[in-house]
Symmetry: C2
């Protein structure tokens, strides 16, 4: 049965959707039956895969009425549960349900036997939708960009993960960090990555959710093709399969799969 | 007394903070007494200006307890009301107050005579903090990047602005769009800008809040110095005054000031 991987970072525009979509597509190309859950009311993962927000595969009825998931195929080995713009309202409706954090988890349990990997794309916040993803997931991937300010945000995210792990989901593990839109010539990027790796190394002996976390290689280089692909409703592998962005995400997906299988 | 300008876009990472901070700094350098309000619990505008989140200048007591604002000077002609990480909780507390959307507006009214311009940096959502900003502001600046998906987000934002204008704040005007991190070589950027301008032109004869909106020139080019500056706690004008990012934001600030004065 599938492991559930949540792609999370409360900072906006760091590469969550770009990573979730292209890693899912890469896993599908490797033959893994993959499900992508779009949990962001802006529905960019849905649009990125050339699908319509809302519709019969929308996650909204699952969250708000407890209906079963209705994934739709978008590519060989790749299914999608789409978002819709009413998800913002859903978060408010969900807030008044007793079992609110668990609805997504329960709905996913019913389909896990059909897939090898389930990936969840989260909005830029630590609100109820992201908490639902952390409750439903076994593993967390943190996309980020190598700037010093990004380290602060990761600290806050790990606090939240720690809280969910100790109260709602003891099996939660952080797989690691995907460095996105990497520009090797930018000041301090080397130091930021070194800081992160020192932090993870120091946690190796502990029993924290990130005690086996890594900074994934390769870093995903800034590549204009990755920015263009969503507007065409295509993953990088359909839009520009020879671009550096395709090579980087293929390799990152292999690395994530290896660690995911191992943990 | 100051006009209040809100920098808004629910999409993450498009350049709201980079624009709000550097436009505020440029206005201050032009001799306008400027106040920046950091309304994002991630406090990136606060950090970008080299200040500490929280502390005596925090906006939290204003929002949650109705206390007066306590701006702190961060540069000649530039004061800051800082954010703090508890703002996420503040949004929840605020939700139960009767006059919740108006608290920020009322607090700003008390200080407007001390400034020529008040700029508000908003989080990547259309929640209560952003609605408070739309209620308190006279004018809206929309930072965005020139991708097709960005147009969808702008459409949704204008719907929200229309709603606030018809229910809470009839004087609300959209000044226009700042095109951020522009890469002229990316596919479709020209078409995205043309689409936006056609849309605004079609609205000229209407009575909508965006009937005088423009796409500001120059576009702010992608410039690594703009991405590095926040990690040093400096605006572009202190960090790299000769960089293209400095020239672009100086010019954009002049354009925004001109339209702001005129409307
Ligand atoms: N490696 C890259 N090279 C070039 N552009 C990239 C790269 N990764 C992401 N981008 C672009 O950066 C922008 C933000 O990426 P993305 O939407 O994936 O971030 P996000 O974290 O999902 O944002 P949000 O917080 O709004 O959900 C998008 O326009 C995307 O196309
Ligand atoms: N013109 C530019 N050139 C290079 N990098 C830029 C440019 N504008 C913004 N950036 C970088 O892009 C990232 C996102 O910008 P910024 O934080 O201003 O967006 P935001 O809309 O405020 O994000 P959020 O939604 O999280 O509040 C930052 O790392 C910033 O330094
Ligand atoms: Mg996203
Ligand atoms: Mg910001």
């Amino acid at each position: 049965p599938a492991r559930v991987l949540a792609f999370i970072n409360q900072k906006g525009g760091v590469g969550k959707t770009t990573s979730c979509v292209n890693v899912a597509a890469a896993l599908a190309l490797r033959g893994r039956r993959t499900l992508l859950i779009d949990l962001d009311s802006q529905a960019h993962a849905t649009l990125h895969l050339g699908a319509e927000p809302g519709g019969p595969s929308s996650i909204y009825p699952t969250l708000v009425e407890g209906q079963p998931l209705a994934p739709t195929p978008v590519a060989p080995n790749l299914d999608l549960v789409s978002a819709e713009t009413d998800l913002a309202a859903a978060e408010a409706d969900l807030a008044s349900a007793d079992d609110r954090q668990h609805r997504l988890a329960r709905a996913l349990d019913a389909v896990r036997h059909r897939y090898d990997a389930i990936l969840i794309d989260c909005p830029p916040s630590l609100g109820l939708l992201t908490i639902s993803a952390l409750t439903a997931a076994q593993q967390v991937v943190i996309p980020m960009q190598a700037h010093f300010l990004a380290l602060q945000g990761v600290g806050k995210l790990l606090e939240t993960i720690s809280l969910v792990a100790s109260t709602l989901n003891p099996s939660l593990r952080v797989l690691g960090v995907v460095v996105c839109a990497h520009d090797a010539s930018a000041a301090h990027t080397g130091e930021v990555v070194a800081d992160l790796e020192r932090f993870f190394d120091a946690a190796r002996a502990e029993a924290s959710p990130w005690s086996a976390a890594v900074v994934f290689r390769p870093f995903v280089r800034r590549n204009i093709k990755l920015a263009e692909a969503p507007s065409f409703g295509k993953t990088i592998f359909d839009y520009a399969p020879l671009a550096p962005g395709a090579a980087d995400y293929r390799a990152v997906a292999d690395a994530i799969a290896a660690v995911s299988d191992a943990l």
